[in-house]
């Protein structure tokens, strides 16, 4: 028998499906996976195409960071600054309120509640995520705003000497504070369910060790559970932040959108939100303003994309001790 020269060569192993059912399944799965790339690319191309005129007339930097929006001026001025900062401000308020709430919910479900109750709370928190944002917006406008305005007034009376709680006009409705709380309601389920997931995957032995060393529940949470889970929790927070930045209708209903930039007087009745501004102006916009609104959408899209990429990176990499 002659030795085949090829026998020592590395062969490519076939991983292709043979059965017909497998081939169909592979095809569908592959198409579904690739379609997400295609859809993102198409959206980007569309947005960029429509946004270019606005970028050309306004200049990218002025567009993103300037602070005048006037379609009737000549030349027209479209500058997004107050909205972009407003989105960030509202999201930050939302996240600051949502973090302690979400961690407490997750801790309760995972470490305190009996099984039946834990299941019930999990379901209810997940249901919270399923409330359409228009419903939350209407609830926010007609039910919650008057109540929150009362809280805002108390904050102002007690802590008005701190600049961020200053409000000389004494109008407490439609403020970033209220919009922030409404956004918090929307992102609590996201952060809580990711935190719960991380808690449930934690090595129970580490928690037991902390208790065996004389830790109580509070110190065990603070010194051991949170540091160990921090990577995942931060990822969840950033995912929530992404949702908060893009929130449109609910914010529109509870916020007075104003291009008079509000740097941080959270109780005052003026604020900004890119997404809400787009929807509020879209109906009556002329072609050049529509281009500017598309450009605003593009800026928000990029911003959210960056936040989400950071989120997935942190979730994946920030826990080096995980094997």
């Amino acid at each position: 028998m002659t030795v085949n020269a090829d026998s020592t060569q590395r062969r490519k192993l076939a991983t292709k499906p043979f059965a017909k059912a497998d081939r169909i399944f592979f095809g569908v799965a592959r198409a579904a996976a690739y379609s997400s790339f295609v859809i993102i690319a198409l959206i980007l191309i569309f947005l960029i195409g429509r946004a270019i005129p606005a970028f050309q007339t306004q200049g990218i930097i002025d567009f993103a960071f300037g602070s005048t929006w006037d379609a009737s001026a000549s030349p027209q001025k479209f500058q997004l600054g107050p909205m972009l900062w407003g989105s960030v401000l509202i999201s930050l308020i939302g996240v600051v309120i949502a973090i302690p709430l979400s961690i407490s919910i997750a801790y309760f479900i995972e470490f305190m509640a009996p099984k039946v109750l834990a299941k019930a709370v999990t379901t209810i928190v997940d249901l919270l995520a399923a409330i359409p944002s228009i419903v939350l917006g209407l609830w926010g406008a007609f039910v919650f705003s008057p109540i929150a305005a009362g809280w805002a007034k108390m904050l102002n009376q007690s802590f008005g000497w701190i600049p961020i709680f200053d409000n000389p006009e004494q109008n407490f409705l439609r403020s970033p504070f209220i919009a922030g709380i409404v956004v918090a309601v929307m992102i609590v389920p996201i952060i809580a369910s990711i935190t719960r997931e991380i808690f449930s995957k934690m090595d129970r032995d580490i928690i037991n060790a902390a208790l065996a060393l004389g830790g109580n529940r509070e110190s065990t949470l603070r010194k051991v559970i949170l540091p160990t889970a921090s990577g995942g929790i931060v990822g969840g927070i950033l995912l929530g932040l992404g949702r908060a930045l893009g929130e449109t209708v609910a914010v529109l209903y509870v916020l007075n959108i104003s291009f008079d930039i509000n740097w941080g007087q959270v109780l005052q009745a003026r604020g900004g939100s890119v997404a809400s501004m787009i929807i509020s102006k879209f109906g009556e916009a002329n072609p050049s303003e529509i281009s500017a609104l598309m450009a605003a959408g593009l800026v928000l899209f990029m911003f959210t994309l960056v936040i989400n990429s950071i989120a997935s990176y942190i979730v994946a990499k920030a826990q080096p001790w995980r094997k």
């Binding site: 009996p114 099984k115 090595d203 032995d205 580490i206 037991n208 060790a209 902390a210 208790l211 065996a212 060393l213 004389g214 830790g215 109580n216 110190s219 065990t220 010194k223 051991v224 540091p227 160990t228 921090s230 001790w321």
Partner: protein, 259 residues
Amino acid sequence: MSSRTYQLSAENVNVWFGERHVLKDVNLAFPSNQVTALIGPSGCGKSTFIRTLNRMHELIPSAGFGGKVLLDGEDIYGDGVDPVKVRLKVGMVFQKPNPFPTMTIQENVLSGLKLSGRKNPNNEELVETSLRRASIWNEVKDRLNDPALSLSGGQQQRLCIARSLAMGPDVLLMDEPCSALDPGSTRRVEETILELAPQMTIVIVTHNMQQAQRVADQTAFFLSEDGNPGHVVEFGATEQVFEQPVDPRTNDYVNGHFG
């Protein structure tokens, strides 16, 4: 030997999980400054029993308890006894090495102080004495600020022992501390146990007959037969339990006939 003092003792300890009775009428006294081994086949309740000695048992939902555990003459299950205080006196080392992953070697040794809110005047000294007592000081003294997970499994386990010792417990409970370790690391941990024995009361759960014979002054044999709750079949000096057991079941078990 007649003037033995018993720092820790269990009186009529019964344990349930939900409706299931898993331990029945366990009476054991652990002599001060000696090592007591708990042996028995899997599922006999020895790991459950050791957890009743520092009130870790009650952390499992549905866990039930009856009887008394006396520590320095006081029932640790008595009214108004704070389980956290009990655990400060009765340290525990677990089956799998479980140093805190986010902390350095030094932070792990001091973690009990942080967790319990206790203050210690000289942390550096405490780190060194604790690591020395766990016989790991020479291996880690130049890298105290390295992550605890950079240590080998055996070193991690001795770090966990040091972490418990730093709290100055009177009793150390060890739940199969070597079952996840290789023979070399096992030997080092056993040496550590023998060095600690004159200073504190040690209770160790083990599956390893030779280990019980090497480290323990006393041995208790647990057995759970035919779905009945686990109970102590034989308890006495280690030599006697292994060489001249009274109960034939003990004889079968220590000679490897079952389990």
